[in-house]
């Protein structure tokens, strides 16, 4: 069990290295540099001497392979470099932004799980009923609503018209600020979870061992408790893990919309300014987070399902 977890953690190292290489090469190929992005904002024109000094300071005039070598060397010592823009260590910049994003991701997944899983469950126990129809129609709508539109509508209704909740920002970090962005971000995974749960439960309802349970004289309620829930949970938990990754990716849109000081909005700003060390660092943290969640999911599934071997 412990060696299984350790092995899974070790397997993450080559994945992270590969992703680091891809990001690095991508940003050395795309047009635009830190200096050119400063020209782009139109307020000032950087003269050639300053430009070359900046490039020299950040080592931007070295060939790609030299820069990549340096970058990997830094990574090995867990040094993510220095932000071009703020000249702070990237690790410091990220540390400030990581917590709000984690909060947002967990809150929206919590919303998705608390509403999506029971909805799918009830729908599956009464297939074809009005509950089933309503929940599946809302699930499809939830999946197809654009996040920025949904976010704007939430702001309009709950902040502007009703005045119950703040419309944007992190504020003092209280839960009131978290609610609207979490819903905006959590509706799509909720819809997907409802559908997955419904499909999983329906599939297991037709399984032979459920027929055996009925043949044993078990009531439907007992059958659901003793046999169905556990078997369906493997599929549902796997979906939750995958949805975590999607949520963090889509947090970029919602964070930008709600002016949420997380990794997503940092990433968008840093890409625009070609603040490459911050971009690379932010993506690596997101990847790491995704890998950790999925390792956790694998461990939980292996505990529930004895057929999964600890290898």
């Amino acid at each position: 069990m412990i060696s299984f977890v350790l092995r899974r953690l070790l397997q993450m190292v080559p994945i992270i290295l590969a992703i680091a290489a891809v990001i690095f090469l991508m940003f050395s190929v795309i047009p635009g540099t830190f200096v050119s992005s400063m020209n782009d904002d139109g307020r000032s024109v950087i003269d050639a001497e300053v430009a070359s000094r900046i490039n020299k300071e950040f080592g931007l005039d070295d060939p790609v392979y030299v820069r990549f070598g340096k970058y990997v060397g830094q990574l090995a010592t867990l040094d993510l470099g220095t932000s071009f823009r703020t000249r702070q260590p990237v690790t410091t910049v990220l540390a400030d932004r990581m917590w709000p994003t984690a909060q947002l991701a967990f809150a929206s997944m919590l919303f998705a799980i608390v509403f999506g899983v029971p909805l799918g469950f009830i729908a599956a126990l009464r297939p074809g009923s009005w509950i089933d129809t309503i929940s599946m129609v809302s699930a499809v709508s939830g999946l197809s609503l654009p996040k920025f539109w949904l976010g704007l509508m939430l702001m309009y209704v709950f902040a502007l018209v009703l005045g119950w909740l703040p419309s944007f920002g992190y504020g003092d970090g209280s839960i009131r600020y978290l609610i609207l962005p979490s819903i905006a971000l959590g509706v799509a995974p909720m819809a997907l979870l409802a559908r997955t749960t419904r499909a999983a439960v329906l599939e297991i309802m037709n399984a032979d061992f459920v027929r055996t349970a009925r043949a044993k004289g078990m009531s439907e309620a007992r059958m659901v408790r003793w046999h169905l829930t556990r078997n369906a949970s493997v599929i549902v938990i796997t979906t939750i893990g995958l949805q975590f990754g999607t949520v963090i990716g889509q947090a970029v849109v919602v964070e930008k919309l709600f002016a949420w000081p997380g990794l997503g909005s940092l990433l968008v700003d840093s890409v625009t300014l070609r603040d490459i060390p911050v971009v690379q660092g932010a993506i690596l943290v997101i990847v790491l987070f995704f890998l950790l969640i999925n390792t956790l999911v694998d461990v939980v599934c292996a505990i529930i399902d004895p057929r999964i071997k600890y290898t």
Binding site: D208, F209, T212, A213, K216, G217, M218, H227, P306, R307
Partner: protein, 326 residues
């Protein structure tokens, strides 16, 4: 028939509904099983054997449903029972074992716990007491080291062991009737014999009657006192086991018996091809008019194609459904 009837099935009809139309998947099925008797139900796949068994235990699911007839168990009409009342009988008085022991057991639950559920459900035992009884139940079906095996999951056991677990579960509460739906079809031949011996021995010891469903005539001849042959949702011949294989009266039964390989037949009669019944069982939605067997029958006449034969009693107290039974 001698002895008291435990189960009496009369004119059972099960309908298959397709797009709002009903088709009889099982029709006019009547038979009875005495206490401690083993009754065999034979026929090709798709002739309604399993549907009959599921109907008896009240486990038919959409699109199948009981459309008529009567099922009396200990004289009590099962079709009049509430779902809750029927549920109490299931597992305790009537239990069932299935063909595929891998999928019939929950893969995520230790087999001991799945057996223990029976004692919790029907005997009011608590879990620790039930788990202890599960060890005994496994020992009765001759699973070696039962106290260790109870912790195993189904995928850790062989097919034969899994079927033993199913039997232990089905017989846990000492039922009066065991429905065995092709219990050995998915197993190796050597394991088949062991499992059948086990069913025979335990049912005899507990006085449990068995409804043995199979397409294997040899097995039925070995295990059963009485045999019903099903074709296209109907019982077409019903006789004592020792006479039906010697003097089959219905052309379908004759065909089944003739298609059996006989050990030593080659040295006696020379090399011959095994006989077969040509064609396949018609689907429920397309039964032919007249006798349902007529398209495949070598002796079919215009009468067979026009008129449905009725059940006729035979001198040896058997029953046959054929215009030309003599």
């Amino acid at each position: 028939m001698t002895g008291q009837a435990l189960l009496e099935v009369e004119d059972l009809r099960v309908d298959l509904s397709v797009n709002g139309r009903s088709f009889p998947a099982v029709q006019d099925v009547s038979f009875s099983i005495r206490r401690g008797e083993t009754f065999g139900l034979v026929g090709e796949s798709g002739c309604g054997k399993s549907i009959t068994a599921l109907a008896l235990i009240g486990l038919l699911r959409n699109p199948l449903s009981i459309a008529g007839g009567s099922i009396r168990f200990h004289g009590q009409e099962l079709l009049d029972l509430s779902p809750g009342g029927l549920r109490k009988l299931r597992g305790s008085r009537i239990s069932m074992i299935f063909q595929e022991p891998m999928t019939a057991l929950n893969p995520l639950s230790p087999v001991g716990r799945q057996i223990a559920e029976m004692f919790v459900l029907h005997k009011g035992a608590n879990w620790s007491e039930a788990e202890r009884q599960a060890v005994e139940a496994l020992a009765r079906v001759r699973v070696p080291a039962p106290e260790r095996r109870v912790k195993d999951y189904p995928h850790q056991l062989s097919g034969g062991m899994r079927q033993r677990v199913m039997i232990a579960m089905a017989l846990a509460c000492g039922p009066d009737l065991l429905l065995a739906d092709e219990p050995t079809t998915a197993l190796d031949v050597t394991v088949q014999a062991e499992i059948l011996d086990l069913i025979r021995e335990l049912s005899a010891a507990q006085g449990t009657a068995v409804l043995m469903i199979s397409h294997d005539l040899g097995l039925i001849a070995n295990m059963c006192q009485n045999v019903g042959v099903m074709y296209a949702g109907r019982l077409i011949e019903q006789r004592a086991a020792d006479s039906i294989f010697l003097t089959p009266r219905h052309p379908y039964t004759q065909g089944l018996v003739a298609s059996l390989p006989l050990l030593g037949a080659r040295s006696k009669f020379g090399r011959k091809k095994l006989k077969e019944i040509e064609g396949v069982v018609p689907p429920v939605v397309a039964f032919p008019p007249g006798c349902r067997f007529n398209p495949r029958c070598h002796a079919a006449t215009d009468l067979c194609r026009a008129e449905d034969p009725v059940v006729t009693p035979l001198p040896d107290s058997g029953l046959v459904r054929c215009h030309y039974h003599d």
